[in-house]
Symmetry: C2
Amino acid sequence: MLNQVLNRLHEQRQPAIDRLCDWLRIPSVSTDPAFAPDVRRAAQWAADRLRECGLDVKIVPTKGHPVVMAKTKGRRDEGTKGRSEGNGSASPPSSLRPSVPTSLSSPPSLLFYGHYDVQPPDPIDLWTTPPFQPTIRDGAIYARGADDDKGQVSTFLEALRAWHDVAGQIPINLTVILEGEEECGSANLVPFLEAHKAELAADVAIVSDTAMWGDADPILPAITYGLRGLVYFDIQLHGPARDLHSGVYGGTVPNPATELAIVLGQLFDSNHRINIPGFYDDVAPITADERAQWDALHFDERKMAQSVGLEQLHGEAGFSTLERRWARPCCDINGLYGGYMGQGAKTVIPSFAGAKVSFRIPPDMNPLRVDMLFRDFLTDHTPPGCSWKIEQHGAAHPVLVPTDSPYLQAAKRAITIATGGTAPVLMREGATIPVISDFKRILGINTVMMGFGRHDDAIHSPNEHFRLDCFDLGRRAHAAMIDELRKM
Amino acid sequence: MLNQVLNRLHEQRQPAIDRLCDWLRIPSVSTDPAFAPDVRRAAQWAADRLRECGLDVKIVPTKGHPVVMAKTKGRRDEGTKGRSEGNGSASPPSSLRPSVPTSLSSPPSLLFYGHYDVQPPDPIDLWTTPPFQPTIRDGAIYARGADDDKGQVSTFLEALRAWHDVAGQIPINLTVILEGEEECGSANLVPFLEAHKAELAADVAIVSDTAMWGDADPILPAITYGLRGLVYFDIQLHGPARDLHSGVYGGTVPNPATELAIVLGQLFDSNHRINIPGFYDDVAPITADERAQWDALHFDERKMAQSVGLEQLHGEAGFSTLERRWARPCCDINGLYGGYMGQGAKTVIPSFAGAKVSFRIPPDMNPLRVDMLFRDFLTDHTPPGCSWKIEQHGAAHPVLVPTDSPYLQAAKRAITIATGGTAPVLMREGATIPVISDFKRILGINTVMMGFGRHDDAIHSPNEHFRLDCFDLGRRAHAAMIDELRKM
């Protein structure tokens, strides 16, 4: 039966691309209230497509943008039995399609998560073609959201559609949730998960929002089993009650911009380690197996440096670049602001200055502890006459999924089928997908991160794109994964 | 005769206020091209008033805003002799006013400098009354430019007018220049001085653009004899070729915002001294006399801290606040910028980050040497994989005027007359007035800084104002100073 589904996907290539383009034309920019009607339309569009796959669909309102939630009708083991045995209902034989054999025991329930909102397209003038007029060129679809995440979600939607077309139904117990606020902080997702805990019960989750391995060809299919967590702060150092003339007051009052730089500088030691006592206590060392696997990836540091226009990389002393990216904490200043920021000169001592400071934390660091340590560090380093205003803008736990779980093994088989024989590599990612740790914490389930993007897809940047060969691979892999789950 | 002039000033108080208000109604914001016609109108207004005092006036174009230049007609020694002896010209006896006796030798030639442009009024909504609708309340004129520098210049213009009204002429050789670009960098002033060197020849200059002594009552009249110089930089640290995702790249690439903070932090040692080898080599120590004079000022550090909303002051260890302000160098970060500066969070590693960094330098530091030392420091501290873009936005020498010069002694007498017996204190200022060192370097003359502002006049800030008692004192002091010069 999988072969028929894969054939169907092959036939449906152009219609699938057209459908994705339809979705991409809707500018569902979640962070900007001006686009709220478009965000709503994008949700409706997804709901309509899920309904076409025979799912029960509802659009669940939140305090922000809604969540599209879809479920297979009844549990598949019962449902299938009901249909094969007949249940006296008036429902006609659904079609002439072949029946779908499932495993004797109940197949696992799957929760699929994706998001239908997109990043703002700015800066617009750097786009070769308009961000919301999807264009195919050089074997890729160019549009905002082409990869992140409409393109990746579409690989799953198309697999569902093909299964539905071939088998008349989705042969597993499935719940789909598509969020509309991933690009603006997911403020309402945890409350949603908590409120719908029972409906969302599943054995495993799948998320397609990651990239494959490699920065350039060859790109290898990959399953991501680890993520760093994140703690993000906006810190402001306040000093004089008003801006002061730097000639009259310079050298006699605490200058918050100067003092902020001094404190931030003290956050790092000469080995570029974070200079907070106890900060590294909980960092899980990588295992010998992992080290061997990572070595086998032959990560090319020179190529990575070139790809971002650098002559050399830089980071914590004593670790490889891959370890620094995947398994070591780091602290980045994501923004600096304060005083005069325009052209030319203004001789001002600003009354305050600020910085966006974030920490990426590998397993097993705890964001709550990092929050506490950083606040303590700042308090301990409060410059004379100054005071801090500290806001935390998000804390997410790191994730480490067991690589020996049957679901991850199933995903490896599915991807190997989809590629025609190339097994996926197991990798971690330095970035954060908070929903993965939320699933673990709230729903008690692990997630298989099957992503089909590439690191050079320019997500969040102008000219975002998704390669059609990635799109094809994703559709096939999800179709095969459904087959693997069906047989479990 | 001076008494008659002072009486005239007394009678003319309201008309003088009205004239100043007329000038203040013209929004001569030099930095914003939208106000160019207003800047021009403000120049014309000043030219008309100077012409009313019997001066030859021209408005000299520059590459930017024009300079108003006015001169007494012919040298006063010759002119006066010519008039008293008769020279066969057809000019009628000018009036029934008393003749003006001058010294037997040629009286000194005076160059008066001021500026007719003003700072932008932003933030407008913090003004109690509109910045270009001058309002009298609580004994002060509120408007942008009320003190800096239209109000201060008006004290001199009114003294000229009173002398002209009483004596029919200005009894000294006088050149007045009023600049229109002081608030936007004076880019065209040095070329102007160099091009008009002969016309500007004088024995001494007077500038009224400083404040009196004290942050609150009692305010003491003052002559400023020292200024710090300034070197101002915009420095940018560039790293990756584009902004990067801090999850994917964090910990592996040089982050310019982080590295900039580290380098700036290294610029200061734990005593808040500037951490550049040789930086303090040329700082002139203050003399025992100066220290005694400064001690006698009874500077109130607590009051100063309170006035800017601070619980404590802060600066280089081992020096008093007054020494730090007047006689020690300092380095201030006047602005920080880079990466994400908006509300909330964006997980970006910026491709660059920048800072405005300025040095105030007391006598005898050389701005060119400071420029070189700072560039060397930055180069020596270039973070791996990064590069600097350094722009200097202005360098000015410090100023130290000899306090035993006859002109400064004359100013002391004049101010003592104007106050009715209170001698001015001698003070320095921490700020910079580049024109003072330009006069010394290009014209070879010292400047007497007779200023009548107060530190709490909110220059460059919302609700700028000039107290009427300061306005009165300035008018009287300038009138007396003209008398003192006349008699030299």
